[in-house]
Amino acid sequence: MPKNDVAVVGIGQTKFRSKRRDVNIPEMIYEAAKMAMDDAHLEPKDIDAILIGNF
């Protein structure tokens, strides 16, 4: 069992499509990040650490 409980308090995901010609990569990431922050009623200044997974 993990020692401390970890909560997920907000999530965001873009619509998944074969091509997103309307956004570049940072803009697409911002879309998901903004949705997650809005979902949790948080702003960037409230966030201590960021993990990014990509390929």
Partner: protein, 380 residues
């Protein structure tokens, strides 16, 4: 904070071109050495964290190429695509989660297999900056020029860093460059990116490093002299060089502040016995003295002149010889950690700092200290 131990480390010799070993064999060499040093087998290892770089390894998800070498088939294994010190942090977190009792952290790089100027050029954005030909050499020249101009730091003061680290490397059997040089040698070497010359930069090296992390309750099963994590913080500065303050390593400064706070350190020079800093080029070590709070802003050159960072000084820096002597790029941060571990275990041989009890290691990702992590370790 709960305790995380390092109970053993293993390193290859760092060399210019290990043509007889593909990188999987290089990794296997340190893993096997670690097993033998500790008298363990693959069954004793709970999970594995690796660190390398796809561009250097020539394939994506490059950790899959060393899966057999690290013994991670049907085990929890994960990878940091970046500096090895960040892989250490990932490993420490796996111990802190209490999910794993033992974690092996491994980092490798074979710089000889691909042009490092090309690899470093790909760090820059593909639309605007990459085409300017920016790489680690030209960007270091920009940073050094701005820093030296702002604070009146001299080329001689920068050269003294190289002389010190190359001299220290003579006592480190793993070091790549093992030849003493003079300030004049540095000043007279070929200009690469004003004001930095060939000897202001490290060589490129092949090599690998591995270590075993354990929980507090298991540490003594493996060694009588575990080394403990006392403080940690990381900080990533802006990506675009134009968005940075190029005369001070602000990201490193903020990371150091956090790590000192966690470790309860208020007087770094007085309290730390030894430091291994990521000396990507000569003036970068001087800038690191300032960011780590060893001296005031702009005083890195004077601090070098004072002799404080020499082996017999108040805060010896880079007894291993530093990156300026051995530079398997992705492994550099984990090598810094390994040297601090050896110093705190009292196993640093001819370069041992007497009675070293508290040490600092720092890792770096990206160009000119963009990503920084500072780690504080304590011995028994």
């Amino acid at each position: 904070m709960d305790k995380v131990a390092i109970v053993g480390v293993a390193q290859t010799k760092y060399e210019e071109d290990k043509i007889d070993q593909p990188y999987s064999e290089l990794v296997f060499e340190v893993v096997k050495k670690l097993h033998n040093n500790l008298g363990i087998t693959n069954d004793d290892i709970g999970c594995v964290i690796t660190s390398s770089n796809d561009f250097n390894d020539g394939r994506t998800i490059a950790n899959m190429a060393i899966q057999d070498a690290v013994g991670s088939v049907r085990k929890a294994e994960s990878r940091v695509s970046g500096d090895g010190a960040f892989a250490y942090v990932y490993g420490a977190m796996r111990i802190l989660s209490e999910e794993y009792d033992t974690v092996m952290v491994v980092s490798h790089c074979k710089c000889s297999e691909v042009s490092q100027y090309l690899v470093n050029n790909t760090i820059f954005d593909p639309y605007y900056q990459r085409h300017l030909g920016l790489d680690q050499i030209s960007s270091a020249g920009l940073m050094a020029n701005m820093y030296m101009n702002k604070y009146g730091v001299s080329e001689e003061q920068a050269a003294k860093v190289v002389v010190k680290n190359r001299k220290n490397a003579l006592n480190n059997p793993h070091a790549h460059l093992q030849k003493e040089i003079s300030v004049e040698d540095v000043l007279n070497s070929k200009m690469l990116a004003y004001p930095l010359k060939e000897l202001d930069f490290p060589p490129f090296s092949d090599g690998a490093v591995a270590m075993l992390l354990t929980s507090e309750k298991s540490a003594k099963k493996f060694t009588d002299t575990p080394v403990w994590l006392k403080g940690y913080a990381s900080c990533t500065d802006a990506y675009y060089l134009g968005h940075r303050n190029m005369t001070d390593l602000i990201g490193l400064e903020l990371a150091a502040k956090g790590a000192y706070e966690m470790a309860g350190i208020s007087d770094p020079v007085g309290e730390l016995d030894v430091a291994e800093v990521y000396d990507a080029f000569s003036t970068h070590e001087l800038m690191s003295y300032e960011a780590l709070g060893f001296c005031g802003k702009g005083e890195g050159g004077k601090f070098m002149d004072s002799g404080a960072t020499q082996m017999n000084g108040s805060i010896p820096v880079n007894p291993s010889g530093g990156v300026l002597s051995s530079n398997p790029t992705m492994a550099n941060g984990l090598i810094r950690v390994a040297e601090i571990v050896l110093q705190l275990m009292g196993k640093a041989g001819k370069r041992q700092i007497p009675n070293a009890k508290l040490g600092l290691a720092n890792g770096m990702n990206g160009i000119c200290s963009q990503g920084n992590c500072v780690l504080i370790f304590g011995g028994e």
